[in-house]
């Protein structure tokens, strides 16, 4: 029996991404959010998840992709990170797939930019690539924006 892993998948713009299923706490539909004024743009807001306040990050903006059209409501993928739960806003939720470890490959040269930094590798599925997202890195917002925020504050 070849070793396999399970991933929760979702789409973002034209990308097909996956996260280790064990890291996913739950997947829920769009929730009303409370905006956080003066926060980085990629922080979409805060949601009340059964009494817990969770930060929601727009994964499109985090990956430096074009913003979602206004009429399209995102879905919440709530992941567990070292500092607590975090919600990633994605376009559409896909299935949970089980893939053999041996299909794992390093990210191809064609993928550039922020996506390259936050993706640990790819799996080749029929016809398309599944990019595996590093949730810890995604949870760490880029220093540049926080630095800019700090200097603006001072």
């Amino acid at each position: 029996m070849t070793p396999t892993k399970q991933f929760a998948t979702f789409t973002l713009n034209s990308l097909f991404l996956g996260v280790d299923v064990l890291k996913v706490q739950e997947v829920i539909r769009y929730q009303t959010m409370t905006r956080v004024p003066t926060a980085p743009a990629m922080v979409e807001g805060l949601i009340n998840l059964r009494g817990q306040i969770i930060t929601a990050i727009d994964l499109r903006l985090r990956l430096d992709l074009p913003a979602r059209p206004d009429d399209q409501l995102p879905m919440n993928v709530v992941v567990r990170t070292d500092d607590g739960a975090l919600s990633l806003l994605v376009d559409e939720i896909g299935d949970v797939v089980e893939i053999a470890d041996e299909s794992f490959e390093r990210i191809p040269e064609t993928v550039t930019g922020v996506v390259r930094d936050l993706v640990t590798g790819v799996y080749k599925l029929d016809g398309r690539l599944l990019l595996i997202l590093d949730t810890e890195k995604a949870a760490n917002l880029p220093m540049a924006s926080t630095l800019a925020l700090v200097s603006a504050k001072n």
Binding site: T34, P37, P40, I47, I53, T55, L86, V150
Partner: protein, 774 residues
């Protein structure tokens, strides 16, 4: 990790802490038998457990320590700085070993032979033994056999008793005080019995104490607090529903739920409360070691050890407090020589006070050292580019002192590894502000320094004011709240003034800077100047002691909210201190008043604004020729004047109301004691004491400065004029500033300051005096 080992570690750490405290205590009172016994027992227990768990080196080190203590316990040795030092070093070593056990499972293999030899040598110190043996009078010799009986009781092996007995008796026999020997041998039986009973007693009492408390994991308490927090939120939601439904049975149940939740909240918070004494207990040793290495003598007094604080607060202030104490010892208190030169006692005093007041915990650290040299502080700040020379000149003393809290500041001549790296005080202030507290500094050169810390009692559940602005709801912690203002639409344009383009509101005479929340947070409707038709709601808050007004759209109500921290992604956002869930389930952000103040530059601006106003006032004077003067006569025929701006009030007192204090005339005035100065006395050119009209009331001009007042007794108050001053002639001395022509007559201008100083040199201290009651 093995439960047994975990238990061992927890207990050993506790024991070590107690051991440390006891050692410092014993140094102060070397013959305190109880402390000595306690120390011996602790090391003995440590040795036993270490042996049982197979930690050979730990056992070896404890064993040598125990031997040394055994000698002391038997009265053959008295503690001295060398012994204390060695034992404290042993404590440090054991602590390190415990840490290693915790992280890697076993102490690192090190060479402890040096320490072991030292302890061994100290134990044997032959000179020490006989000399101290002679010093140690009979009571100690009798004590020896007593302890033999007591020791075996907690520790099973009777084997232990034998070697100890063997050690003691030969020495007792060898004692120069030969008479005592038979007493010693005869005594054991008689004296032993009561002691055995006593020790049993003690054991029973201590077991009773240990039964009523229970050890709980901190994470469990955290979980409990979280759940209580959730309950509070749910309760808030239920209460919201009751206002909509009129079912009385439901309302009654909801009310019952409300009461129970409030009580549960109170009790849950109490579980996390710990006495501040827990962190203070480390300080005696810190002070001892530090003062020894700095060559100073310092007495540490602690008041309010039982004051309770939430555990998270205790964690947060542990390091700041230690740093402040180290600063006081290292830089604050002078060496004994310097102190004696200054007429102070050679021993410096460092006092720590903790108490609850006004919903906050107050912690004060007071030293009677050299105080903070304000000028040096300002110089350093200018040197380091923190402020400009002008700002330094315009700063108040209080602000000047607080310069030491700026990042990158340090006036230490030498950077010791104790303090002086310029990172301490600003970190202290930041850490305390992070938990919502404030730090205030007062100092008098040559006399000492006082640091006052105020921290809110609880972090998790706080009362807050809910406001709406830009379509969003925000919560403002009540602790930052001063008052609420509402300006009617019609008055807005008049009441909001602009100073250098920044909006201010005149609140009871003082200018209150205004911050528009919508603008600051770039919310909807931002940038739009408030429309004339709308009323303006101002929430007056204070940050760092500076009040300012927050302009919001609407003020809702006050509620108790549960503070939930923001995720690390939002750590950089300075305006928000956290978030909470409102009664309707939606998330609302909690404003960080200090962060808002800093972001909107209100805090920095306040300084600038004051200095602008000052310079504006100054620039006005030379051009303004008209001065308002108070004319009076000091004695026969003298016409005098003082600027009306110096006059606080004009009063009349009957001569009978004059009393004498310290040989000086005073009157009781508005609840204060007002010293009186007969102006005529200090003006030599006025004729000899003119016979005063005994019946007439005294005319007094009250002058105030820095909160202190003095009454200038004049002959007769004539007039108040506002005139253009023409000829001026300067004259110095004799209590006169100069002569001017007023109403076509030559009038002398009274030099108020010199007259007051001549009468009472201590009236004008020069620098702001720290108010005693603050």
């Amino acid at each position: 990790m093995d439960d047994l080992i975990k238990e061992f570690l927890i207990e050993s750490h506790e024991n070590l802490d107690r051991l440390e405290r006891d050692l410092v205590e014993l140094e102060k009172d070397p013959h305190d038998k109880e402390t000595l016994s306690s120390i011996f027992r602790t090391i003995h227990t440590l040795k036993g457990s270490a042996g049982f768990l197979g930690y050979g080196q730990l056992e070896a080190v404890s064993h040598v320590g125990e031997n040394l203590l055994s000698r002391m316990r038997d009265g053959l040795l008295v503690i001295n700085p060398d012994i204390a030092g060695a034992l404290l070093a042993t404590v440090d070593v054991v602590r390190r070993m415990l840490g290693e056990i915790e992280s890697t499972g076993a102490p690192e293999e090190r060479d402890y032979s040096a320490l072991i030899q030292l302890l061994d040598r100290l134990k044997d110190g032959p000179i020490a033994a006989t000399e101290t043996h002679v010093e140690v009078s009979p009571p100690a010799i009798i004590a020896a056999p007593v302890v033999i009986v007591a020791a075996p009781t907690p520790v099973a092996p009777i084997v232990g008793a034998a070697p100890v007995a063997v050690e003691v008796t030969p020495v007792a026999v060898a004692a120069p005080v030969a008479v005592a020997a038979p007493v010693a041998i005869a005594a054991p039986v008689a004296v032993a019995a009561p002691v055995a009973v006593a020790s049993e007693h003690v054991e029973q009492r201590s077991s009773a104490a240990s039964d009523s408390s229970i050890r709980v994991d901190v994470s469990l308490l955290d979980k409990l607090m979280n759940l209580v927090g959730e309950l509070v939120l749910a309760r808030n939601q239920v209460l919201q529903f009751t206002s909509q439904h009129t079912d009385s049975a439901f309302a009654a149940t909801a009310q019952r739920l409300n009461l129970i939740t409030t009580e549960l909240q109170g009790s849950a918070m109490k579980t996390r409360m710990q006495p501040i004494g827990n962190i203070w207990s480390k300080l005696p040793r810190v002070v001892r070691d530090l003062s020894a290495s700095c060559g100073k003598e310092i007495r540490l007094e602690m008041e309010g050890k039982d004051t309770e604080l939430d555990k998270t607060i205790i964690e947060a202030i542990k390091d700041p407090l230690t740093h402040i104490v180290r600063n006081s010892v290292d830089h604050g208190i002078e060496t004994p020589e310097v102190r004696m030169e200054r007429g102070k006692a050679a021993e410096g005093c460092l006092k720590m006070r903790a108490f609850h007041e006004g919903g906050q915990v107050n912690i004060e650290i007071i030293d009677d050292g050299g105080g903070i040299d304000l000028d040096r502080v300002k110089q350093k700040a200018i040197q380091r580019g923190i402020i400009s020379a002008e700002q330094a000149a315009r700063m108040s003393d209080h602000e000047g002192l607080h310069l030491i809290f700026m990042p990158g500041f340090s006036t230490a001549e030498k950077i010791t590894n104790v303090s002086g790296r310029g990172v301490g005080m600003d970190v202290v202030k930041t850490n305390i502000e992070k938990i919502g507290g404030t730090v205030d500094l007062q100092s008098q050169l040559g006399k000492g320094t006082t640091l006052k810390i105020k921290i809110p009692l609880t972090l998790a559940i706080i009362p807050a004011l809910v406001v709406t602005s830009g379509g969003e709801r925000f919560a403002i912690p009540q602790i930052s709240l001063l008052e609420l203002l509402r300006l009617e639409a019609a008055n807005v344009s008049q009441q909001i003034e602009y100073v250098h383009g920044a909006p201010v509101y005149r609140l009871r005479g003082k200018l209150l800077p205004l911050v528009y929340l919508n603008r600051e947070l770039k919310l909807n409707h931002a940038g739009a100047v408030p429309q004339e038709e709308r009323e303006v709601n101002i929430v007056v808050v204070q940050a760092d002691g500076h009040p300012f007004g927050l302009v919001v759209d609407d003020i809702n109500d006050t509620q108790e909210i549960v503070v939930k921290p923001l995720g690390k992604q939002l750590k950089g956002v300075g305006c928000f201190a956290g978030a909470t869930i409102m009664g309707d389930g939606r998330v609302a952000l909690i404003l960080d008043v200090l962060g808002l103040a800093q972001q909107s530059r209100v805090v920095a601006e306040i300084h600038d604004r004051n200095s602008h106003l000052d310079s504006a006032a100054e620039s006005r004077k030379p051009q303004d020729d008209k001065q308002t003067l108070l004319l009076f006569s000091a004695g026969q025929g003298t016409r005098m004047a003082i600027p009306l701006s110096m006059v606080a009030r004009l009063e009349e007192f009957p001569r009978s109301s004059v009393e004498y204090s310290g040989g000086r005339p005073v009157v009781r005035y508005r609840g204060q004691i007002l010293p009186l100065i007969k102006v005529a006395q200090y003006l030599p050119q006025v004729g000899a004491q003119v016979g005063e009209d005994e019946d007439a009331a005294m005319q007094v001009v009250v002058y105030s400065e820095n909160g202190k007042s003095v009454g200038l007794v004049v002959g007769r108050i004539d007039d108040i004029v506002s005139e253009v001053i023409t000829e001026k002639r300067h004259a110095y001395g004799n209590g006169i500033l100069g002569s001017i022509v007023v109403q076509d007559q030559v009038t002398d201008l009274l030099d108020v300051h010199s007259v007051i100083r001549a009468s009472d040199p201590s009236f004008n201290p020069g620098r702001g005096t720290p108010s005693a009651a603050a």
